[in-house]
Structures are given as structure tokens and as C-alpha cells.
């Protein structure tokens, strides 16, 4: 693997999780979660605190990262989102409320960074998590391990959503909340579980991304447009679309920066954010509903000659 591909894979896996987190929460609760920014940053800090103070590898702290993200999600649900959902608040209100939560979390992150500096004599404002990594088959281990973790996690999530009763009930609520309620499915629980999962995903994604970029208190704040771009690219209608969108955004950014800086010179590096944002703008212009709006399955079906259900 070329170096850009290795970091690109790590970074894109992280973005895929965060974009998936945004999408999942959006399709369940109509909430565009700004707080993914701080949840991701907190995810990074949990892993960093682990390796810097207690030693070991970053990977062994990932369960803790996930749990902490879920905790942040639960707090947001019970403290904020739940009341607004019952009030049937507008989408923008829901979104703003998570922004408020995000800013509060951001202040806590900054304070925590101060605390780490002061109490443990660490330098938590410019962290290269790479230094805690090891080599595997001549590559950085992260480039191999993280995509695997991501795939395992997403497969488990897929099994949960399709094979378990509660998972199917979640999909039922997403599709038709009224009928789901009339069937006795408690939407409150569905919302809570979606916050738990998406909070954990966001934090895990943040911990991933920190393996490819400099970890800092503002890393989530600076990358949130990309996470949103991933979710929007995915069309905001399917979890898998969001995950794919995030992954594509991440890879495009790395590949684009690599090739453009070879062609045009290193000044391109400063504008790296522009590449994924342009990708998003272009998608929105041509496919206002994102990747999901591209009738991909129709093309595939027409290729394989199969016809979808004869009824309707």
C-alpha cells in the first residue's frame, strides 16, 4: 500500500462510522446530530487517555470509547432530544439543540485537555496517535485493523437490524412510526437505542480518525462538515448509504490531495477540505438525494435481467 492509501483507509473508515452515525440518527429521529463532532473528539480522548496514562495499544480501549460515546448519546436523548421529539419540534430546532449540546461538550473537552496538561504533564492538544501503533505485515497496523473492526462492527449492526426482533422493530419504526406504535413498539426505546448506537459509532469513528490525523480538541469541529458531507452524499435515507458516503468522502480527500499536490504543488494541502466539499456540492447538484437517489439497483437489476416483484 502507498502511504496515502494506508492513512486514507484509516481516515475513511473513521469518516464512514461518523457519517453512518449521523445517518442512523437522522432516519430514526429526524435529528441532524451536530454533537457528533464532540462525540468523535471525546472518542479520541478516551483512547488517548488510555494509552498515554495506562499504556497498551489504542485498540484495546475501543470498547470503552464506544461506551463513552453511547453515554454521551443517552445524556443527549434524555436531557434534550426526547422532549423535543414529543413536542414534534421542527428539524432545524432538533439540529440546533444538538449544536448547543456540542458546544457544551466542546467546552468540557477543552477543560479536559487543560486538566491533562496540568495533572499528567501531557501534550493533549497536538497528538499523533500513530506513535502508539505497531507494524503488521510491514504496514501500519491501523491500516489493516481499523477497516476490519469497521467491517465487523457494521456486519454486527446489520445482523442486529435484520435478524433480531428489536432490530426489525427499529426498522419498522423508521419506516412507519405510526403503525409501529399501533403494533405496540415503544418508540421511546427505539430512539434511545438509536442514540446509544450512533453515539458509540461517532466516538469510535473519532478514535479511528485520530490514527490518521493530528488529534486535538477541535478535530471534531473541523471535520464535522466532512462527516455531514458523507451523510448527505449517502442520501440520508439508508444507513449503508451514509457509511458508503463517509468512506468515499474520506478516500477522495486523501487520493485527491495526493494526486493534486503531485501535479500542482504542496500548496494544495491547505485546501484539502475543498475536495470533499466540492464532491458533495456536485452530488447535490446532480443527485439532490445523494447516492441513494442514483437508481443504482435499477441499473444492476437491468444488467442481471431480473425483474422486481410482479405485483403493484
Amino acid at each position: 500500500m502507498t502511504p496515502w492509501m494506508a492513512s486514507g483507509l484509516v481516515y475513511a473508515s473513521g469518516l464512514a462510522l461518523t457519517a453512518g452515525s449521523i445517518t442512523l440518527l437522522y432516519i430514526v429521529t429526524r435529528t441532524f446530530n451536530f454533537a457528533v463532532a464532540s462525540m468523535a473528539t471525546f472518542g479520541f480522548y478516551v483512547a488517548y487517555t488510555g494509552v498515554a496514562i495506562y499504556g497498551g495499544l489504542p485498540y484495546q480501549y475501543y470498547p470503552l470509547v464506544f461506551l463513552f460515546g453511547s453515554f454521551l448519546g443517552i445524556v443527549c436523548y434524555y436531557g434534550l432530544n426526547r422532549h423535543l421529539l414529543y413536542r414534534q419540534a421542527a428539524e432545524i430546532t432538533l439540529m440546533m439543540s444538538t449544536l448547543g449540546y456540542d458546544l457544551v461538550l466542546l467546552s468540557f473537552i477543552q477543560m479536559y485537555a487543560d486538566f491533562l496538561t496540568h495533572t499528567y504533564r501531557l501534550f493533549p492538544r497536538r497528538v499523533t496517535m500513530n506513535t502508539y501503533d505497531f507494524e503488521l505485515f510491514g504496514e501500519r497496523a491501523a491500516a489493516i485493523i481499523l477497516p476490519i473492526i469497521a467491517i465487523v462492527f457494521l456486519t454486527a449492526l446489520h445482523m442486529f437490524l435484520t435478524k433480531t426482533k428489536f432490530g426489525v422493530a427499529m426498522r419498522a419504526t423508521i419506516e412507519n412510526p405510526i403503525l409501529a406504535g399501533a403494533s405496540g413498539i415503544n418508540s421511546d426505546k427505539v430512539y434511545l437505542v438509536s442514540w446509544v448506537i450512533s453515539g458509540g459509532m461517532a466516538s469510535l469513528g473519532g478514535a479511528f480518525m485520530a490514527m490518521a490525523m493530528t488529534g486535538s480538541p477541535t478535530m471534531g469541529m473541523f471535520t464535522i462538515p466532512l462527516m455531514f458531507a458523507g451523510a448527505i452524499l449517502g442520501g440520508l435515507t439508508s444507513l449503508y448509504g451514509g457509511i458508503l458516503g463517509g468512506f468515499m468522502i474520506g478516500m477522495t480527500e486523501y487520493a485527491g490531495v495526493f494526486y493534486l499536490s503531485q501535479q500542482l504543488g504542496p500548496w494544495v494541502l491547505g485546501y484539502r477540505m475543498g475536495i470533499p466539499l466540492i464532491l458533495m456540492a456536485v452530488t447535490l447538484l446532480f443527485f439532490p438525494r445523494g447516492l441513494a437517489g442514483i437508481p443504482l439497483s435499477k441499473y444492476l437489476k437491468s444488467l442481471s435481467g431480473k425483474k422486481r416483484g410482479d405485483g403493484v
Partner: protein
């Protein structure tokens, strides 16, 4: 069993129902008929805690239930088959039935699903297909099966016969009558097939523009020629069902 008193409700700022009074006695079929846009569906969704109730009382088994959450009503034994969006289009037929039995133990769900596929063999044929790929009639049958799955005490059925072929519609009507006669289920149903519904029904209400225009025995409504022809499109002499859409326009202008 279910008493609705002075109900005012609607969606957002829009008020649809005005001081509505409905009484659904136990173990009987109560039929609600009326032109399109009269607020029949809104009544059902008000009972289920979906539409916004601004004032009035809804009493179910002597307990007020307005403001109660929908899934709690399902737990209390109310089964609702909505007019629109009554199946989960993205889930398979089997998952749809499983979701309908969400509150029941696993083996009971299995037993009930088998019963349902016996009543509606079509469902058995398509058991692994997504419900979204079913035809309108098949979908409606799935919706009814889902409503019946739940062993309800009270069923709210919104326009069951729409989209169904006449033979199947008749079968569904007979099934509804059987539910009352054999299982003693209380039923509140909205029907466009007004004549047939009034025949099997015990009590009837005629709703127009969010208000009750007539209440009484179902049979008696059939003998109100003026109301029948004006709002239901039943010609008093022939007993045939005429074009329903046209009179409904006149009705809503009232």
C-alpha cells in the same frame, strides 16, 4: 366499551373534528360512514393518540385514554388497521406479521401467523417478499392479517374493503362479522362499502364535515333515504352503490 365525548381534534393548527360524540358498545360492530374528508380517519387517529386532541374525552373500559401513547393503547388491547400506510413496505411479509405480534410471545406469534396464512393463502405464497412489492389488494389483506394477529379487545378498522376485489371484500366483511360473533371482539369500522357495512353493523354514525349527522341503529340509517342518497350514494329504491365521489363534494360544502 369506548366512549368519545365532545372531542375536538385535528392536525397542527387545522381543526377537523368538532364536538364529536361516539359510543361504541362492547361486542358489537359500530359503523362510521360519511363522505371523503369528513374526518373519519381523523377520529380513529385521535383515539390512537396520533392526531392532536385539543379537548374532549375518550374513555376506554372506563379509563380516559386521551393523551396516552400509541404503543400503550396497543398494550391495552386496541388493534388499529390504518387506512394508509398499514404495512411496513420495506419489511418482508413474515417480518410484518412478526411486528404485528410484537407484544406476544414467540410461539403464539408463530401459531397466529399460520392461522393468518390459512385465511389469506396469498400471504403464504409471498411470505419472504417485501410488503412494498405486493399489489394493493394483497397489501390490504396483509394489513388485515396484521390487525387480527393481535388478539384485540377492540379493533379499529379504517376502510378495509378499499382496493379489494368484490369477492374478497365480501369475504373480509364476513370475517369481520365472525370476529364479533365468535370471538366477541368489539369493532369500530369506517367503510366506503356503506350498504354492506351497515347490513352487518349494529350501530351506525354518519359523519359529515367533522360532525355527527346521524346516529342510531345501522339498519335504520339504511331506511333514511335522504341521508343515504345525499351522503352515501345509496339509491333508496335500488339499494345499489352509486358514484361516491360526487356527493361527497356536495357534502363537504355543507
Amino acid at each position: 366499551m369506548l366512549t368519545v365525548t365532545n372531542l375536538n381534534s385535528g392536525y397542527g393548527k387545522l381543526q377537523v373534528l368538532y364536538d364529536l360524540n361516539i359510543e361504541v358498545p362492547g361486542k358489537g360492530i359500530t359503523v362510521i360512514v360519511g363522505p371523503n374528508g369528513a374526518g373519519k380517519t381523523t377520529l380513529m387517529s385521535s383515539i390512537m393518540g396520533i392526531a392532536r386532541v385539543t379537548s374532549g374525552e375518550i374513555i376506554y373500559e372506563n379509563i380516559p385514554i386521551q393523551g396516552e401513547l400509541t404503543h400503550n393503547l396497543a398494550k391495552k388491547g386496541i388493534s388499529y388497521v390504518p387506512q394508509m400506510g398499514n404495512v411496513f413496505a420495506e419489511l418482508s411479509v413474515m417480518d410484518n406479521l412478526n411486528m404485528a405480534g410484537f407484544l406476544m410471545p414467540r410461539d403464539e406469534v408463530k401459531k397466529k401467523s399460520e392461522q393468518m396464512t390459512e385465511i389469506f393463502p396469498v400471504l403464504k405464497k409471498f411470505i419472504h417478499r417485501d410488503a412494498g412489492t405486493l399489489s394493493g389488494g394483497e397489501r390490504r389483506m396483509l394489513a388485515i392479517a396484521m390487525g387480527l394477529m393481535k388478539n384485540p379487545k377492540l379493533m379499529l378498522l379504517d376502510e378495509l374493503s378499499t382496493d379489494l376485489a368484490p369477492i374478497i371484500a365480501e369475504k373480509v366483511m364476513m370475517e369481520v362479522a365472525r370476529l364479533r360473533d365468535e370471538l366477541g371482539i368489539t369493532i369500530l369500522m369506517v367503510e366506503q362499502m356503506a350498504k354492506r357495512a351497515l347490513e352487518i353493523g349494529d350501530n351506525a354514525y354518519l359523519m359529515v364535515s367533522g360532525e355527527v349527522r346521524y346516529s342510531g341503529k345501522a339498519d335504520d340509517l339504511l331506511h333514511e333515504p335522504e341521508l343515504c342518497s345525499m351522503y352515501l350514494g345509496i339509491k333508496p329504491d335500488s339499494g345499489q352503490i352509486a358514484d361516491v365521489a360526487k356527493p361527497s363534494v356536495e357534502g363537504s360544502e355543507e
